[in-house]
Symmetry: C2
Subunit: 396 residues, 2 copies
């Protein structure tokens, strides 16, 4: 029913929008020229598959059937330096399943590519707005790390926007994705059927000290924002030790020093503080530790600290019925080579779960590597995932 | 003899090139459009003062007399976010003294504005090349934090370049400068006559780890470049404690994380490591501590570390004769309100000291603030410094 060659060809075609030139790497951040070109190409494929193309004001792109249908998809924006499968796999697999189902007179299947899943402006921004977790007006005020607002970025969508897309036309949502972790790859598993998605918190923190000359300012008079951040970062690992599990993670992935010159004591640092766990209450306890320590460090170093809004999503369970359909399909396509597992990564499915039943299916990531140009999955595993998705979607 | 109004007017005119719009702040990094425009204007003033305008291939700008002469000056490039007096004061004071001396048939005085003192590409790059401390071909390969090479930056000088400027035509060099520290301001001093300039070392360090997904990579498997930097920075303060003096300083002022996104474990960090002290052997002992600790941290975190070339300058003493002329002038212009003092900041005079006798004179910095838009000095103190410089230059 599904056509593996057509599916792989489309996957490579999507990769060509923003291809980094390094392996299969992709640079296609939300609202970039490459992202918009990719969405234009996806629109053409949706239309050719007999779907009605709709784009909402945030840039979420849908290809919908006339009748109520299951929704399949993911996102087609990438990390600043991303792989070719993160998000893209789920979108192209959805396209192929929808197309094949229509060709075979199967059940109607609609397709979505959400916008800004990778968080240029927030966290899963497009699906958060579509599902009502984030007001468009609030989202519009979010800025990326260079100071560009979402409002001005989405102005570039121009006349692609057709209007709101009613979620009630969809009976459920299944997102296929690469695992982005080492579990399937190291265990020889082919398919992961997701049980739940861990929650995430993301907060921008600013330390304000005193910018000054790096030669004439004695060490004991300095209010060095970077030294405060270093002390915060090393101290945090100690403080969190007693409340986390081996699955809990926290990351300082973005750091912006000001003015960022070797001969100047840094007067300000803005950095990202992100943490993830499967328990909502643990996420809250971690936030308390983070805020308390940052306050203490600021006090000790003679600085002030400011906390941005806490963005993020609570942990969510997958829908039992859709999950059973995926498990059944997995057992048929990869007997004995699939497992039930949690998702350590955040996905658009988290947002969509508040509107309809959702489920997710994973294929292996080679070496567990993702959010990097090296990200990859064997063609055999990609096609196996496609067949599982198609089989689950075909069940009535 | 010197004209304070003309001097202050010229100082404000120079400020207008790259004026930041924040207080008296200036954004005029070496080879920028603003820097080149400022050098064009300075050339006109030099010519109008009867000096022959010469620019060497690095962009150092001279206004020279026919006969051998004393050389006065400093630099007219600024920090990425600089004040209006750092460097500019010494250049405009030199211009006024040279102009006034010529008007009064005094001794010949030449003027210089060195290029890239602020280290867009290295450390006092322009004077380092002029004095033979740095080969032009080596300098050309230096890159700024955005990857632009000095070779391509100086191509923008175009036909301004007249050729090499022979240092043997100058009998000595006096650099007037703001203190950039709190000593004069807090003690009520008007003039500082510099005894020696502390040495500086500046090295770019890179930690290479493994970029990965911030949700699916367990903490114990991470090779996070930022965590390594934080551990290095906090550890360094402990390690240096036993070998430094209260005047010793060290700074991590520039940090560049890669890829610098909140949802990605940083795979690489490049940062600046700078340290300063009046003793050459202490600078060397600090370098050993820095390299050893970085190696240990890299080993402990599963990363590799790379060290760039160690740039910098050794500590230098000021010339006794020129210093005595400045002390005599200071006692006449600011009786009882001047002091002999070391310079904690690096200056072009450090490089020039290998070619001819050099000396330096300081005026107060309000609040000790420099390398910031807030940098300032009272007009009274500026003019007092000008008179001291003029008086010292007039002595035969």
């Amino acid at each position: 029913m599904v056509n593996p060659e057509r599916f792989l060809a489309d996957l490579h075609k999507l990769r060509s929008f923003g291809a980094s030139g390094v392996g299969n790497g992709v640079v296609r951040p939300a609202y970039s020229e490459a992202d918009l070109a990719a969405r234009d190409w996806l629109s053409e494929q949706m239309a050719a598959a007999g779907l009605e193309v709709q784009m909402d004001a945030t840039g979420n792109l849908f290809g919908v059937t006339e009748k109520p249908s299951l929704l399949l998809g993911s996102h087609s924006d990438s990390q600043p330096e991303g792989g070719w499968l993160d998000g893209a796999l789920g979108v192209i697999a959805a396209l192929e399943v929808a197309r094949a189902s229509r060709e075979a007179d199967g059940p109607p299947v609609s397709v979505v590519s959400f916008q800004d899943e990778e968080g240029r402006f927030g966290v899963t921004t497009g699906s958060a707005v579509w599902t009502g977790h984030l007001e468009q007006t609030v989202a519009d005020a979010l800025t990326d790390h260079t100071g560009v607002s979402l409002a001005s970025a989405r102005a570039g969508l121009a006349d692609r926007v057709t209007g709101p897309v009613d979620a009630r036309r969809f009976t459920g949502f299944i997102e296929m994705h690469i695992e982005q972790g080492p579990t399937l790859d190291t265990s020889g598993g082919k398919i992961g059927v997701v049980t739940d998605i861990v929650g995430i918190r993301d907060m921008r923190v600013t330390f304000d000290g005193q910018q000054n000359h790096a030669g004439t300012t004695p060490m004991h008079l300095r209010r060095d924002a970077f030294q405060a951040l270093a002390a915060f970062s090393t101290g945090l690992s100690d403080r969190l030790r007693n409340i986390v599990t081996p699955q809990t993670v926290w990351t300082i992935g973005h750091v912006s020093l000001h003015p960022n010159a070797s001969s100047i004591v840094p007067g300000r640092v803005v950095f990202s503080m992100q943490w993830r766990d499967a328990q909502t209450d643990r996420l809250a306890r971690m936030e308390t530790v983070i805020r308390t320590l940052a306050d203490e460090i600021a006090e000790a170093h003679g600085l002030t600290v400011r906390f941005g809004p806490v963005l993020g999503l609570d942990p969510v369970e997958m829908d039992a019925t859709l999950r059973a359909r995926l498990e059944d399909a997995a057992e048929r396509e990869a007997p004995g080579a699939w497992r039930a597992m949690p998702s350590g990564a955040l996905h658009d499915a988290t947002n969509v779960a508040s509107l309809m039943p959702v489920a997710m299916v994973f294929v292996p990531s080679i070496g567990g590597i993702s959010h990097a140009f090296e990200e990859d999955t064997t063609e055999q595993d990609l096609v196996c995932g496609l067949r599982v998705l198609a089989r689950a979607a075909a069940q009535r």
